[in-house]
Symmetry: C2
Subunit: 343 residues, 2 copies
């Protein structure tokens, strides 16, 4: 099951973008603010490949990367954009390429600097959306990650035998956006590409570990409070837990550290709906809902003006906490078909 | 990147086993005691495929499966072996096929019943080891799961276009033994096969969830105590936590619920070595060590008479707890190059 470079045939129409790349010498790459493993991996892989072809590539991002991704850029190929410093780089570039952007606004000042020139602007993205600010667009929502598109582009440009330093960021991009091949966006193409990347010497576990085994100390503390406050109802089908401002303060935790707590609660055996409730000073009570698939929860969130996906949704409910908690727990109890006065 | 059945060429030598299968009508399948997703998935996939070819297959396992795997067998194709009831089935079989066994002894009374006949006994396994009790052996430690070998066998027998009910157990087998494509045993072959199985309609997330998002209530309670007792040293590179008999009793938890706690501790940002210490009444103190890869831990375990893999190892140390704890924490501190009197 190997595919030689000469046999590779993309299902996508890259010809105009490839012509543009072939005609250019100097590139500026960017991705969305708060870049993730997919945006960063896409930038790094294509930059490393183009540099091997003798091109010049500057990667200028609108905001610094979260520390967990620093392992992807050990030699500092990625720079935080400063308009006063980098406008000359923008002016000298032949082509801009933007990865994983979703919405042009998420380029912040990088986008403004791009629009001050009349250079071609390429979007390579797996988020559907309005891309009218771009001159060349490769949008494919069937790709589980923008990194998939970068792999496809490099192959279509004749690249093969990816070196490890090109294979690794593409692999990290896929791992990042598929929950390490776990979510249902993982498709045959993702595995086909992973198959090829592992041949280049990529080791799966270090990349998984660097992205997913980096629980912050603040999150560990919040998990402890979540477990201490954990309640179950209706034979354990519903689980909920409350965190307060005091918990966050004592844990020395940030709002970012709240991520994943409802996912953890859903992972408990027997739990069908997990409900994380967070009451911070001065804010409405934040509710995060997760379902294993037996019940939808976006409708529950929707009844409080929130929304989301079928099995992962959220809402904000005006306090005080005890009233908001009663509302959301009762709504969840109704969802699982229980009497709403059992707790 | 598709491979037609007629083109498929296994790298393994299946011809004798295929001749044997083709010549037989009645099969008994089995796997090791306390069967896991790989053994069960291997049995189910090959049984479902052979039944479609008009063969008769009984799956008789030495012990019941853990409840988390019951999703794999919704219609009860797997039976717990009872010698008084099933010896006639064994006597009527033409061929026995055993999956994922490692050591014949793990067949318990199923193995004894097999040896009371002179039928051919086939081992399909990815664990190396002494297989002298088998007449036909396919041992391949390069396969990340026995399910890989079953896929390979079915393809080599001309099978293609796997139906979902055959693809799902093979996918579950791979997910089970690779930590969902996370461990370094995940190779190109695993992704190549996953690529093909997803084409048959396998949905990744439900299988992941059924195997990995089933944290028992007892384990949740033990995790809470682990977090409450968590200690760090040397800038967070070393983390350790102690659980006692009292914790297990209060949590209503079993020894099985201890699994994974040291893995969780290792997943904390900055932690390089995680050390879980469990003191149960009447037992030596049990130590479980995990490393992110910067330091080996099997040598640390070895210094107490234990062992394991480079980055996952364990040992037992005679109590009392406070003395055993001082010994293991000091050994870990020495490993990370710290003074041993900092805690």
């Amino acid at each position: 099951m190997t595919v030689n470079s000469s046999e590779y045939k993309s299902k996508r129409q890259w010809s105009e973008i490839i012509s543009l790349i072939n005609s250019a010498r100097r590139f500026v790459f960017s991705t969305h603010a708060d870049p993730d493993g997919d945006g960063l991996g896409s930038e790094l892989a294509l930059a490393r490949w183009l540099k091997k072809q003798g091109k010049t590539v500057d990667i200028l991002n609108p905001t610094p990367m979260n520390g967990i991704y620093r392992f992807m850029d050990p030699s500092g190929e990625i720079t935080d954009f400063k308009v006063e410093k980098h406008q000359p780089v923008m002016d000298a570039a032949d082509v801009f390429v933007v990865f994983d952007i979703g919405d042009f606004k998420r380029l912040n000042s990088v986008g403004e600097a791009m629009l001050r020139t009349d250079k071609p602007r390429v979007s390579i993205d797996h988020h559907p959306g309005d891309k009218h600010q771009f001159t060349h667009i490769m949008d494919d929502a069937s790709a589980c990650a923008s990194g998939i598109l970068v792999y496809d582009l490099i192959r279509e440009m004749g690249g093969s035998d990816f070196t490890k330093e090109i294979a690794e960021p593409i692999y990290a991009a896929i791992v990042n956006d598929t929950g390490n091949f776990r979510f249902n966006n993982t498709n045959s193409e993702a595995h086909a590409i992973a198959m090829d990347l592992l041949r280049s010497g990529v080791e799966p576990y270090p990349i998984y570990m660097n992205i997913y085994e980096q629980t912050s100390r603040g999150r560990v503390e919040l998990l402890k409070y979540t477990l201490e406050n954990l309640k179950f109802s209706t034979n354990g089908e519903l689980a909920w837990s409350v965190l307060t401002q005091e918990n966050l303060d004592t844990a020395d935790a940030s709002v970012d550290d709240l991520t994943g707590l409802s996912d953890f609660m859903r992972s408990i055996k027997g739990v069908e709906i997990a409900c994380s409730v967070v009451a911070l000073n001065g804010d409405p009570v934040k509710v995060s809902l997760r379902s294993k698939g037996k019940y939808t929860v976006n409708d529950v969130a929707g009844s409080f003006g929130g929304g989301g996906h079928n099995f992962a949704a959220g809402a904000q409910i005006e306090g005080p906490l005890d009233e908001a908690l009663a509302l959301i727990v009762n709504a969840c109890l109704a969802k699982v078909g229980a009497s709403t006065d059992v707790w």
